[in-house]
Every structure is written in structure tokens, then in C-alpha cells.
């Protein structure tokens, strides 16, 4: 799988690379659809590439690196839900359409019980997936009201929905809810790792170029050591990501990963702005884009407080009753 992982990363980076940081949303969406990457982890029988969770992580690292705007995280999670739902009407057509880029909205807001808040690009989607622990449903979007976030790379909406079609209940719903949450956590973690890498690279490049007191900033040992510590943190987050990117990682393991990865991203992005000095505080320089995406990632899908606490409760509980 390591080969596929690296190949996917390279391919994604090359494809996205030419468009630079935060490329056009419509074009990059189209590109991902054309490559078939929304269906990366979907079974081959459903028209996907059948590559599993690790491939999802590989692509999201690169989307995070390039600050690709849009709803890819929600879309890939939604497709996993669609493929797993037992009672999905027009199953094949819907899945094929979603893989081809027809948007299906899905809430990323952890505090949302309605499933209708924190929808990315909901104005471009016809339907929204409502994913609750005991009930998975699909509903038409009636209205999407923009609610801008600080993160300029994600257009968030609050929605209202028409009559819902239930596509899973009971044990099946629980399993799908678990799967959706795990995929979401993995994607957010990967996005964080990629973003942290890119923000760090940007800071290092800046330090090598920028001169003060007659030498490049990169020669100042105090800055070198801070950057080295950031490098260690990013490497640790990435290593943990790969160790949990298989489909067998549990919910709390992925939650703890997400806590570590997004905390690392916030730290790196915060330091990256500081290392950039004044220029980092201007909207013209892209450094702040990482900062804002990092903090949104930290809040989406449950924050570090939530997941580290749950991970600890699972570790303390006797194995039989452990939080999965």
C-alpha cells in the first residue's frame, strides 16, 4: 500500500500543483471528479477504485497541502455512507453520480444535531445526507444560507431540507454512523497533516530568503530550533496518521489522531505566521490561509478536548465495555 500511497500523493500533487495554493474551486472539483478520486475508497463493484482508507488519507494530505477549496471531505464521506446504506433508492445511479462529482452535502459541524449546519458548498448540492447514530437519511436541500467562516477555503452554509428518505436504521445505521465519523476524522487528520507540512515548508522558505541584520533569518539558531521542533511534530503526526489509516482503526483511535494532527496543524500555522513577521499579517500573503483552515479543522468533527477525553475513557475502561 505504501507504493500506492506515494503514487497517489505524487499524482495529486502534480495535478493540483500547477494551480498553486487555494486553486479555483470549480476547476479542482472537476479535476477530482475526472480522476475518479471521490470514489477512491468505494468498492469497485460500485464503480469506485476500491483502494480503502489509506488512499483517502493520501489524497486529503495533498488537498490540505494545496488548500484546495470545496467539499471533498464531505463528498468522500458521503459516498462511503451511500455505498454502505441498505435502503438507498436508485442506488447505482446515485453512487455513480456522486463519484462523478454530483455534490451530496453532509454536515461537518460537531455540535449539529440536525445535520443541516456546517454544510460546505451546499448551494451547489441538491441533497443532504443526515447522519445520526440511529438513522441515516437523505433529503433534498430546500434552502442554503451562506454563513462565512474565517477559513476562506471552505464556503459553509446552513440548510433547510425537504422530506427525508430514511436509508438505514438500527444496527446498520449505527455501523454507518461509525464509518462516516471515522472517515471524516481520517480526512480531517490528513488535511491537517498536509496543511502543516505546507505551512512549515512555507515558513522555512521564507526564513531562507528573508534577511535581517545582514544575514538570512534561517541562520538564527533560535529560529532554527523552533522550526526543528515543528518538523518533529509534523513528522510525528504524519507517522500516526499512516499507522491509523487502515480501515481497522477504531473510532477513538481516529479521534485521538485527529486531536493530535489538528493541534499540530494549529501550532505550526500559528508559528508560521509569527516566523513570517509583518508580512504574515497581511491578507496578500497566503500564510494566514493555513492558520484559518487549521483552526476550522480543529473545530470540525469534534475538537481535541472531545476526542482526547474519549480516548482516555476508552483506555481506562475494561476492554469489554470500551468505547470503540
Amino acid at each position: 500500500m505504501t507504493i500506492a500511497r506515494d503514487e497517489l500523493r505524487d499524482a495529486t500533487r502534480k495535478t493540483l500543483g500547477e494551480a498553486g495554493l487555494m486553486p479555483d474551486a470549480g476547476q479542482s472539483w472537476q479535476l477530482l471528479a475526472e480522476l475518479g478520486w471521490f470514489g477512491l475508497a468505494a468498492p469497485e463493484a460500485d464503480g469506485g477504485l476500491g483502494l480503502g482508507a489509506e488512499a483517502v488519507a493520501a489524497v486529503h494530505i495533498e488537498l490540505g497541502r494545496a488548500l484546495v477549496p470545496g467539499a471533498a471531505i464531505a463528498q468522500m464521506t458521503a459516498i462511503a455512507v451511500l455505498c454502505a446504506a441498505p435502503d438507498l433508492p436508485d442506488r447505482d445511479a446515485r453512487i455513480a453520480a456522486a463519484i462523478a462529482g454530483e455534490r451530496v452535502a453532509l454536515s461537518l459541524d460537531p455540535a449539529d444535531a440536525t445535520g443541516l449546519l456546517g454544510l460546505v458548498d451546499a448551494d451547489l448540492a441538491r441533497e443532504v445526507l443526515l447522519v445520526a447514530p440511529d438513522r441515516i437519511a437523505l433529503a433534498p436541500i430546500e434552502q442554503a444560507t451562506g454563513r462565512p467562516a474565517w477559513d476562506l477555503s471552505r464556503r459553509l452554509f446552513d440548510g433547510t431540507a425537504g422530506p427525508a428518505t430514511v436509508i438505514a436504521t438500527g444496527e446498520a445505521a449505527r455501523a454507518i454512523h461509525d464509518l462516516a465519523t471515522r472517515r471524516l476524522l481520517l480526512a480531517l487528520s490528513a488535511d491537517a497533516v498536509g496543511g502543516a507540512e505546507a505551512a512549515l515548508d512555507m515558513a522555512v522558505d521564507y526564513l531562507k530568503t528573508r534577511r535581517q541584520f545582514d544575514r538570512p533569518l534561517a541562520l538564527f539558531q533560535a529560529l532554527k530550533h523552533r522550526v526543528a521542533d515543528l518538523k518533529i511534530a509534523v513528522a510525528a503526526a504524519e507517522a500516526l496518521l499512516w499507522s491509523r489509516a487502515g480501515d481497522e482503526a477504531s473510532l477513538v483511535q481516529l479521534g485521538a489522531l485527529k486531536a493530535l494532527a489538528t493541534t499540530t496543524y494549529c501550532r505550526v500555522a500559528e508559528e508560521a505566521v509569527q516566523l513570517h513577521g509583518g508580512i504574515g499579517l497581511t491578507r496578500e500573503h497566503p500564510c494566514h490561509l493555513f492558520l484559518k483552515r487549521a483552526f476550522l479543522n480543529a473545530a470540525l468533527g469534534g475538537d481535541a478536548d472531545h476526542w482526547t477525553e474519549r480516548a482516555a475513557r476508552a483506555a481506562l475502561a475494561p476492554p469489554s465495555t470500551a468505547d470503540r
Partner: protein, 394 residues
């Protein structure tokens, strides 16, 4: 001395009563930077009239001649009343005043000081794109041509320069010898031909700073402060004009704004979350320590026992507490804090947590970055050796 006759207590009582009557309650509602600036002008005029705007000026000025202890009372009360900060007039009343007072000619003083009280505003033209923390690297050129200097170059991070009438300008008149020795200091009319100002769009949406482009700007020789080549020394007067009052005021304001965190804890139902409580309790102590440091710093200034490095300690302690304050708010604010909300101009602790977080960089980067302050503390306070001058790379 009883509380009723202590002059400081009297001042405090009078000012408190005055603020209760005159403090604008709506200053946070400015929807644009222009509206904020207008409210700043009105507030400054009101303070001038009441005699609280320039306590640090000499006694011959109305409202001047106040001791540092009295100045401290004034800023304490402004913070306590949650009155608007004096941002727009800050460079005028501190930097421009100190520069003119200490280094300006009698003629320059007569020409400009009264205007400041009438609301003329100044900006500072020191920093440049290639000279942030390293002021000696200023490259803006001023060339003498008869009775004028012709100036070309670019300044950056000039606070509210887009609204300024005049500028305290540092420019290079010579490239010979030590870098510092080639600098000269000017008073520049911001309306002079060749001056272009462009506001800097900050990451949180504010436009508190601007860039200034200078294209063959002619400055009369009479607007030079000190002699040619004295710029470095004059700039020191500018930079040392305000020391400690602002950080004390900001510390007190942050202490008052701890309530915002408390509200967030209660609203989020986390009043029994031991981890959140501890972080809040520790932040409270950290903020109180900053206030105590700032008080102590002012006391040492009054007593004449200030040490080199003291100011750097207060500044870094404040900036770190400010970052921690905003970070805790962002964390507790959860997803709500990630939705964009209109910013509050002139407030570092607005409760708009992401905006506050980003605003806090103004104190870790601007006015001598944290990194520069650490060097000062290590080298000039703790006596660790400075890197030899020869350690430069061409």
C-alpha cells in the same frame, strides 16, 4: 492623607464621574474603519476639552503637567470604564510630541504642537519592507537639493497613516560609514505631492496599518529635526516616548475581559469541567501577573530604578498572555468561533475570538518582535554575550 484629600484619589474620583457621564457607550459598534476613526476623533476632542488627553505634556498645556502616578490613574480609569482606547491620537500625542519637545526647534514646536490638540494626526515612517526589526537598515533616500530634500522610498506598518496629516520620517541621507550615522529625521506633510498611502489589509479584516510610497517628495530643509545624520538619535527620542502606560492599560483591559471567558464557560455548560476550569484559573493568574509586572514597571520608572530589559519583559509577558487569552476563547468557542463575525475596531479582547487571536500578533510581531525582545533580555539584562559584529553575511 485621607482618601478624600489625596490628589490621586481626587483625580480618580473626578475622572470616574466624568467618564460615567461622557464615555461613549457605542464605540464598539463602528461598522467600518472610517466610522471607527470618526469616533476616535470625537473622543479625543472630548478628552482634550476635559483636560485628560495629554497628561504627560508640560504644565503650560491645558491638561498637561501630570505626574506619572496621575497618568497611571487616568489610564486605569479609562480601562476600568471600558472607554475607547486612544489609538488615532497616539502617535501624535506621544511620538510626535516627544520628538518635537526633545529634539524639535522652537519654531517647529510652535508650528505643530497646537495642531495636535486641535486633532491633527501624525503617523510614523520608520519601518520598511526590508527593515523590520532592524531599523538601521532603512533605505528610503533623502537627497538634498537646495532648500529641500527629495525623498524616495517606501515605508510600511505605519499605524493609521491613511488618516494622518503628517509623518515622522526616518530617511537615509548618506550611505557612508556606520549605517546609523547616515540617517536623518524629517517632519513630512502627508498631503505633499508624491506621497501615496495604501492601507494594509490585515488577516483579521482590520486596516490599522498602511504602506507609504514616496516618489520624489520634496521636504523643506526647515522640516528636518536635528542635523543631517542625527536621525538615529532623534528616533530614539521618538521610540522611548511611551513606556509602560499602554501595557498597563492593556493588561487591565484584558483582566476585565476575563469575564468574556467566564461567560463562554457558563454558556457552554462547562462550569464543572475541571480541565477548562484549571486553564481558566491559570490564565487569570497569568493576566494578573502581567498587570502586576506593568504596575511594577511604572513604579520603577517613577522611582527612577528602571533597568534595561524591563520593558521587554512586560511586553513579552503581555503578548503571550494575550495570545493565551485568545487561544482559550477560540478553544471554548468551538465551531461558533470559526464562523466569521464583524470585527470590533480598537479592541484586543473583543470576544470575537479568531479575530482576537489574529490581532494578538500585533503584539508579538509589531513594535519590536518577541524575538528581538528576547535578545535584549538575554544580552542586556542577563549579560549573555552579543554575537560579534563580524558575524554577518554579505
Amino acid at each position: 492623607m485621607s482618601a478624600s484629600s489625596d490628589p490621586l484619589a481626587v483625580l480618580r474620583r473626578e475622572l470616574r464621574a466624568w467618564l460615567a457621564a461622557h464615555r461613549p457607550a457605542d464605540w464598539r459598534e463602528a461598522a467600518t474603519h472610517e466610522a471607527f476613526v470618526a469616533s476616535q476623533r470625537a473622543w479625543f476632542a472630548r478628552l482634550v476639552e476635559a483636560g485628560y488627553a495629554i497628561p504627560h505634556w508640560p504644565a503650560e498645556w491645558p491638561g498637561g503637567g501630570r505626574s506619572l502616578a496621575e497618568q497611571k490613574v487616568i489610564y486605569e480609569e479609562l480601562a476600568r470604564a471600558d472607554a475607547p482606547r486612544l489609538l488615532l491620537s497616539f502617535v501624535s500625542t506621544y511620538h510626535a510630541f516627544a520628538t518635537l519637545h526633545e529634539c524639535g526647534s522652537a519654531e517647529q514646536q510652535a508650528r505643530y504642537l497646537p495642531g495636535i490638540l486641535r486633532g491633527e494626526t501624525w503617523c510614523q515612517g520608520f519601518s520598511e519592507p526590508g527593515a523590520g526589526s532592524d531599523l538601521a537598515a532603512v533605505r528610503t533616500r533623502a537627497e538634498r537639493q537646495g532648500d529641500v530634500y527629495v525623498v524616495n522610498g517606501q515605508k510600511v506598518w505605519s499605524t493609521m497613516a491613511q488618516y494622518a496629516d503628517r509623518c515622522l520620517l526616518l530617511a537615509r541621507t548618506s550611505s557612508e560609514g556606520a549605517k546609523q550615522a547616515g540617517l536623518t529625521y524629517f517632519l513630512m506633510d502627508m498631503k505633499a505631492p508624491g506621497v501615496t498611502v495604501r492601507p494594509i489589509h490585515q488577516i483579521q479584516g482590520d486596516e490599522e496599518f498602511a504602506e507609504i510610497f514616496l516618489d520624489n517628495v520634496a521636504i523643506p530643509v526647515s522640516e528636518r529635526v536635528g542635523a543631517e545624520g542625527d536621525g538615529w538619535a532623534v528616533a530614539q527620542a521618538t521610540l522611548s516616548s511611551e513606556r509602560g502606560l499602554t501595557l498597563m492599560e492593556l493588561g487591565y483591559r484584558m483582566r476585565g475581559a476575563l469575564d468574556r471567558i467566564a461567560d463562554l464557560i457558563l454558556a457552554g455548560g462547562r462550569a464543572d469541567d475541571a480541565g477548562v476550569l484549571r486553564d481558566f484559573g491559570a490564565l487569570g493568574a497569568q493576566v494578573d501577573a502581567v498587570c502586576a509586572l506593568a504596575d511594577q514597571f511604572l513604579e520603577s520608572r517613577m522611582a527612577g530604578t528602571e533597568q534595561v530589559g524591563d520593558a521587554s519583559i512586560v511586553k513579552n509577558a503581555y503578548s503571550r498572555a494575550l495570545r493565551a487569552y485568545a487561544a482559550l476563547g477560540v478553544r471554548l468557542g468551538g465551531i461558533d468561533a470559526q464562523y466569521m463575525a464583524p470585527i470590533t475596531y480598537g479592541d484586543l479582547n473583543s470576544g470575537n475570538w479568531m479575530a482576537d487571536f489574529m490581532n494578538s500578533y500585533a503584539w508579538t510581531i509589531a513594535g519590536g518582535s518577541e524575538e528581538v525582545q528576547r535578545n535584549i533580555i538575554a544580552e542586556r539584562m542577563l549579560g549573555m554575550p552579543r554575537e560579534p559584529k563580524g558575524w554577518t553575511l554579505a
